[in-house]
């Protein structure tokens, strides 16, 4: 049961092999037994999950089940869930019970999905290793000495460890794709504005985008069918028709034009990753695709531009956490200033403070033109690079990350080293383009991610390309060696 995809589980539910309550209970038990090894969940909502499962089973027996009815998933703890703690990985919100559902959560609820709980994450989605969580680091199921990536590290690890069939994530600079790559799962960051941001706690509003994290492209397509669409509550969501993302998965790839940006195959790239990506490209050629080298000349400016824009927006977005209305308030403040300083000083972790300070500085009078305005100009150049490139080709491919999963603590002392892990992912957020990561190899027992980038609203194309690769290869089916220790082995594991 734990090795099945969402699509397979849906078949099992329809065939009556198991009920949603049984499926949900099995996953809850597995989380209960195994998550101490990974720390991928912040909150497990067993009671609500079983209620949702019961309701889903009732719908199914009444003949009213949809494609997602009764399927368990988990939500990154950045999505507000009514009546459930929504911490965003921060001490600041450790006591915050959201009084409403994020649009994404609402949509999954309406589709009949079961939420197992809330997954761990870097505090306020700031990080690339999930070491910045108030609830402790998440461990990579492939090697528990390694990080799972971040910021959606809990979602990635939970899917990789088969603690949930799928999970939601968010991606501001690579936070879906990088942990997907490091944990050997499939993740897609949709076009900016494709998935509503309402109820998704903001890190950098112009870059944040929610998306699916799952075991296969087909599962990601099923999830995106639920998640995508215009939301009147989010002014930046787009009124663009939502296709059935499952409809074109089986289109053949003959004639697909793939661009390989020379800037992505740089000196910093781990040779094993380079080799795996090249091998994957060969596989696509075998499926009928053609390849050509392209150039994205401003790629080297993406990290500096991102680390101005994202912290600037964050410095303002996180001002609301002031201890006045909700969240952490320091004990016995002597006056207003003391309350602000200590509440925020105690509530935020060091990476969040670092980015608030960087952003505050970049927006300061006298520095605005040199930093924020300049970064926005660079952002337009980066966007133009992609638009130009995508006129001649269908998709861009390259590595998702320059390195495989690194050891816990390895990069925590040097923020710049950590930031460089996102060099291939964050230019897409600056451009607003969709991108996904799928497993395409491994090195020293750690998975490798292939990044596929498409034009605006080309999610269906990306999912089709990924699905065809997954039909021809089995990288996405590989899983960590000791997922089911003998003592824990259950009969469901087939």
């Amino acid at each position: 049961m734990f090795e099945k995809t969402l699509a397979e589980l849906a078949q099992g539910l329809n065939a009556g092999d198991y009920s949603s309550v049984e499926l949900t209970q099995a996953y809850l038990d597995r989380i209960h037994k195994e998550d101490s090894r990974y720390n991928s969940f912040i909150s497990v909502t067993a009671e609500q999950a079983l209620e949702q499962a019961k309701a889903a089973d009732a719908l199914r027996s009444a003949g009213n089940a949809g494609p997602f009815t009764g399927l368990p998933i988990a939500h990154k703890d950045i999505f507000c869930t009514d009546g459930v703690r929504t911490s965003c990985g921060s001490k600041m919100l450790d006591n915050f019970i959201a009084p409403y559902n994020a649009t994404v959560v609402e949509k999954f609820n309406a589709a009949g999905a079961v939420s197992l709980g809330k997954t761990n994450m870097d505090e306020f989605a700031m990080g690339s290793s999930n070491e910045n969580s108030f609830y402790g680091p998440v461990r990579n199921p492939w090697n528990t000495d390694c990080v799972p990536g971040g910021s959606s590290g809990g979602s990635a690890a939970a899917v990789a460890a088969r603690l949930t069939p799928a999970a939601t994530g968010t991606d501001t600079g690579g936070s879906i794709r990088q942990p997907a790559a490091l944990c050997g799962i499939t993740g897609i960051k949709p076009t900016y504005g494709r998935v509503s941001r309402y109820g998704m706690i903001a890190y950098a509003s112009s870059l944040d985008q929610g998306g699916p994290m799952a075991r296969s492209a087909e599962d990601a397509a099923m999830m995106l069918n639920v998640m995508a669409g215009f939301d009147p509550k989010d002014s930046t969501s787009l009124e663009h028709a939502v296709p059935d993302y499952c409809a074109d998965l089986n289109q053949p790839l003959k004639g697909l034009k793939i661009g390989l940006p020379k800037e992505f195959f740089c000196a910093e790239l781990n040779p094993a990753i380079a080799a795996s990506v090249q091998a994957a490209v060969k596989e696509f050629e075998a499926l009928g695709a053609t390849t050509q080298e392209i150039s994205l000349p401003n790629t080297h400016l993406a990290v500096p531009a991102y680390y101005i824009i994202a912290p600037s927006e964050a410095s303002s977005n996180l001002s609301r956490f002031d201890g006045v209305r909700y969240g952490h308030r320091c004990a016995d403040p002597i006056d207003l200033e003391d309350m602000y300083k200590r509440s925020r000083g105690e509530g935020f972790g060091s990476e969040v403070k670092r980015r608030i300070m960087v952003g505050t500085y970049a927006l300061s009078e006298g520095f605005y033109d040199a930093y924020y305005k300049k970064a926005q100009q660079i952002r337009r150049l980066i966007r133009q690079d992609f638009i130009d490139a995508l006129q001649q080709i269908d998709v861009i491919m390259g590595p998702t990350t320059p390195h495989p999963a690194f050891k816990l603590g390895e990069k925590t002392s040097n923020p710049i080293d950590m930031y460089m892990e996102d060099i291939f992912t964050l230019s897409l957020n600056l451009a607003g383009l969709p991108g996904m990561s799928i497993p395409c190899g491994n090195t020293a027992g750690l998975p490798i991610g292939l990044q596929i980038i498409g034009n605006y609203f080309a999610e269906a194309k990306l999912l089709n390309v990924a699905h065809q690769f997954q039909q021809a290869t089995d990288w996405h089916l590989q899983q960590p060696a000791d997922l089911f220790p003998a003592t824990h082995n259950t009969t469901e594991a087939s």
Partner: protein, 484 residues
């Protein structure tokens, strides 16, 4: 030395939208604290703003009314600062690309001359909540009902040179926004408030002096007093060898003085940047022209028409046209009464006295405009004299609605029968021997003034219904006959 004041004003007009500028919560005034603040107003994590298009329409109306450049692409910016009644830690405003650009209005000065005052810009922004410092000992209460109420901040050029000019400008802006129906203009509830930037310079000098900003003044009278006081304070300061420090000041109406709130050194760096949660507002000429077609007659045009059409004096026309509700009321009354001057006198006189005395807005007047018109028609046709009309008005104010019935029941129909009047006059003269003797003893040119006593007695005897003209004439004839 001859000093000249330089004054620029920032007016915050609350726009009369039903819901807030970025959320669906109600903007109604006076509800229980925090009952009109939704998740967005409380700035709960994850919430996002959605712009209320009604606020845009109102801002564009104002822009057209002051002949301003309209911002076809306007952008919301975030003004970042911490304050407990500012839930997001930033105010969403428009710094770089406001919805309304350079425009102007004309004000009339005491000497009758007109002066043009530039309006630099008007931009949309959200109001903050309120901090309540006196209800919870040792703590501060926060009421976020007002948070997110749409404001139009109207910024003038530093074109005014006296407190009187400033007040004339504020009154004119007030008349425009209330006539447009985009602001209720209620200053005591804070719907319309004013920040005054004041500096002084030696007369003839081009360069501006250092200015102070006095915040949130909420009556015309306080604006005048605060500016006058601030000009005097600055002159005294400089003449005593001091210098003006750029600062934000507060006007204390109880003490009638301004005091420093914070200096420039303590001022925030607001770190403005474009709000990434809101898209730029793009409008086209079609949208703007459709709004232009809906503009009501503006105060200046109405003022001119009232002089032209009704023959009102410049002053009366100005007062009546300053509020749309007053102007509308007047026009209805004048039409029903078929006498505009009589209507103007009553609207500005008796009606105004009752409204002010009971603190009632003209739109809520217990005496409707057409009813007052019917009453005035009875003066015009001679049924009522002025005195009796006031008695009828009082009855109408207290709930009566049928003018003729009130006249009938109270027996207030004017007595014009000369026989009846003559009888009353004779009785009064016969009963007032000492006064008649005084009248006779007086110089002929002093006698006119002494008629008042006899008039009063006759009117009293007729319960106010005798025709005053006839009484006056007859008294004069009869008394003068006694003098020969």
């Amino acid at each position: 030395m001859q000093w000249e004041a330089v004054i620029g004003l920032e007016i915050h007009a609350q726009l009369a939208t039903k819901s807030k500028i970025f959320s669906g919560a109600s903007t109604a005034f006076g509800a229980e604290p925090n009952t009109q603040a939704c998740a967005v107003d409380l700035a709960l994590p994850g919430t996002l703003p959605v712009f209320n298009a009604e606020a845009l329409r109102m801002a564009v109306m104002f822009g057209l009314a002051i002949d301003a450049e309209i911002g076809y692409r306007s952008v919301f910016d975030r003004k970042n600062y911490f304050y407990p009644d500012l839930p997001k830690g930033y105010q969403t405003s428009q710094l770089f690309h406001p919805i309304v650009g350079l425009g102007h209005i004309d004000i009339e000065l005491a000497n009758g001359a007109h002066k043009r005052i530039g309006v630099t810009r008007a931009h949309l922004e959200e109001d903050a909540g309120k901090s309540l410092h006196d209800q919870f000992p040792g703590m501060t209460g926060i009421d976020l009902n007002r948070a997110g109420t749409p404001l139009l901040e109207i910024v003038s050029e530093p074109d005014m040179r006296s407190a009187e000019e400033a007040v004339a400008y504020v009154k004119k802006i007030h008349a425009i926004v209330t006539t447009l129906g985009i602001c209720d203009g209620n200053m005591s509830e804070g719907s319309f408030r004013c920040d005054c930037n004041v500096s002084i310079r030696p007369k003839g000098q081009q360069e501006f002096g250092t200015r102070t900003e006095t915040k949130n003044i909420n009556s015309f009278r306080f604006i005048e007093k605060a500016i006058k006081g601030e000009i005097e304070r600055q002159i005294d300061l400089i003449e005593e060898g001091g210098r003006v420090i750029q600062a934000t000041r507060l006007y204390d109406a109880d003490k009638d003085e301004t005091r420093s709130m914070r200096s420039k050194e303590e001022a925030n760096d607001y770190r403005y940047f474009p709000c990434p949660d809101l898209l730029p507002i793009i409008i086209d000429t079609e949208y703007v022209e459709a709004i232009r077609a809906t503009l009501p007659e503006l105060p200046d045009a109405r003022h001119a028409r009232f002089m032209e059409q009704y023959g009102l004096s410049d002053y009366d026309a100005g007062v009546i046209s300053a509020y749309r509700d007053t102007a509308d009321y007047f026009e209805t009354t004048a039409r029903v009464a078929e006498d505009a001057k009589l209507a103007a006198n009553w609207v500005m006189g008796e009606l105004s006295k009752f409204l002010n005395g009971n603190n009632i807005e003209i739109c809520n007047s217990p005496v409707a405009a057409d009813i007052l018109g019917q009453l005035l028609a009875r003066i015009k046709d001679g049924t009522l004299n002025g005195n009796a009309a006031k008695q009828v008005f009082e009855a109408l104010w207290n709930g009566e609605t049928d003018v003729d019935q009130v006249i009938e029941t109270k027996g207030l129909k004017q007595v014009t029968d000369s026989g009846a009047i003559e009888t009353m006059v004779d009785e009064v003269i016969a009963a007032a021997t000492p006064q008649v003797e005084q009248y006779r003893a007086a110089e002929p040119d002093k006698r006119g003034k002494m008629l008042g006593f006899f008039m009063g007695k006759v009117m009293q005897a007729s319960k106010g219904t005798a025709n005053p003209g006839q009484v006056n004439k007859l008294l004069k004839v009869k008394l003068d006959a006694l003098c020969d």
